[in-house]
Symmetry: C2
Subunit: 330 residues, 2 copies
């Protein structure tokens, strides 16, 4: 490693954990998984210009690189423990690089501290700006939240609100008055600083029949659950949880489109047998994120959406529309 | 994930392992570390144009992305088990992409099968061509080969031969007659298909006092061992193991420079107390890679090199030279 970025990141993200037997600085870290726990592992990459716009604050990038991975652990009901960071940076003047690395470390470590995640290894290379983070967490055997357990009759929920991040991305550059600017700042915070629903994932263990985090967009991710579980799902657009910030910056139809198809929400979408729905909602309300019932699991395949007016919608290139007249279809 | 590359990679790299409780296809993999074992984890990135030249065969890239990581596990004396792959690919026509992915999977899986490594998770994104691989292995508590255990009086060894990969990279494009072309093909194979010294690493457990894999170049990596151990080292250039392919394509001084400073060898460099040197050499000879004594650990700091003529050398911009007259130094 030609430059000591990982050392610097380590200093800024230090976390005392007894289960880290040897941290950064050797060929590999040595870690002890607690007896009786399975290891949950995931990896995700952020590329400049693809996953975050050029010019995004380094601290936001550092936060988000860890957040999208912790969101995967949350969706499994795992308790986060360790992270690896592979950082690719273009050649640049030393002081610019130091500012960038300090910013990345600040955002990464802020979130890492909240979840007691230790950075245990990494790699720094020259190249186009990108970060790959691998995370490790623990889950008792048999208790992980998988995608394949949803059953017809289960109710479908999501935590928090949907569509904010996608709206924040689309409205990033547009000019605005002061009130609108405040709303947009809220949306951009959802885009740049997603909060992985770790506590919600833990609360869902033993209760949700299936779970996924909403990264590609609600319908795409719910479709993954349906495919894995061999079921279909119906979503009621009128039930979608929309923030006042979102509703303040676009009309209801547009807000619905963001909520259904916009990605980067990092909320949890999960299925629960009706008998457990009440206790789950109460618990997630106590955790602060809440959970909103948005539909149900049905026999069959695929995800269908009922519009605000009760009519079934179909996807269009720019969003969702009523089914056209059957005779008009090719 | 917009395209199902990881599924395809999984199909091509399938490995039955009882300790994989849930593989690719959910938000995270679920894994069981054997009782009484510590987990060794490492991550490394390869970027096109930085770690491999544009035009490198996809199968070579897939092999190398896993090899450089298994080399880290080898240097810890860990038994490889699982890998994660984060793959970033530029937009390209579907058939070109399929060829690329098939090639990557072929090389990756060839090496994975040799070491029973299961691909348990991944991520595919759009962007400049790069691969990050994270690997996981097992090692009994207290038996890992660390960098910080070298003591003055220990002998320094390397497995295999040094300098081939660096020479292969430098001579990649040059024209050559048929005999020379064969030699260069051998050097390029060392560059493109490094063989992680996993069995050697296991054989060194409980015997080597310190170990590292040679990725940045012998002297740079041995210096890491010295820093971590609080010692110095002396290397004897006359003892460096050089392949006939290397000696056939350059003179002795150039070959020495490649061996001392060229990276990408992925041999193991390790320190052993003299009393154990004989048995270690015999065991590594039986494993096929052999081990050559190249120097010794001394009190102090830093790495010094004695040239073929017995005089101490100093680094220059292009390689190594005799110490100039003391009075000539600034």
């Amino acid at each position: 490693m030609e430059f000591r970025l990982i050392d610097r990141l380590q200093a800024l993200t230090a976390q005392a954990r007894d289960d880290v037997r040897l941290g950064i600085g050797d060929d590999a870290a040595l870690l002890a998984v607690p007896a009786g726990q399975e290891l949950a592992v995931a990896i995700d990459t952020l590329v400049e210009g693809v996953h975050f716009p050029r010019g995004t604050a380094p601290a936001d990038i550092g936060w988000k690189a860890l957040a999208v991975n912790l969101s995967d652990l949350a969706a499994m009901g795992a308790t986060p423990a360790w992270a690896l960071l592979a950082l690719t940076l273009p050649a640049q003047p030393a002081d610019a690089q130091q500012d960038l690395v300090d910013g990345l470390a600040e955002g990464f470590s802020q979130l890492a501290r909240m979840h007691r995640v230790a950075l245990v290894g990494g790699d720094t290379t020259r190249g186009p700006f990108a970060l790959s983070v691998a995370v490790h967490g623990f889950v008792p055997p048999g208790q992980a939240l998988r995608r394949d357990g949803a059953r017809a009759g289960d109710l479908v929920f999501v935590t928090g609100t949907l569509g904010d991040a996608a709206a924040g991305l689309q409205r990033l550059a547009s000019a605005a008055d002061s009130d609108e600017e405040k709303r947009r700042a809220g949306l951009r915070a959802r885009l740049n600083r997603p909060e992985p629903r770790v506590a919600a994932g833990l609360a869902l263990r033993g209760r949700a029949s299936a779970c996924i985090d909403v990264s590609d967009g609600l319908l795409a991710d719910l479709a993954h659950v349906c495919t894995a579980s061999g079921v279909g799902a119906e979503v009621d657009a009128a039930l979608l949880p929309l923030s006042s910030a979102l509703l303040g910056c676009c009309d209801a139809a547009e807000a619905c489109d963001f909520a259904l198809s916009g990605g980067d929400d990092y909320e949890l979408c999960f299925a629960v047998p009706p008998a457990r729905a009440g206790e789950v909602q109460a618990d997630l309300a106590r955790l602060g994120c809440g959970a909103t019932r948005i539909g149900r699991i049905v026999e069959g395949t695929g995800v269908r959406v009922r519009g605000i007016d009760g009519q079934w919608l179909m996807p269009t290139r720019t969003g969702w529309d009523h089914f056209p007249d059957e005779t008009a279809r090719p």
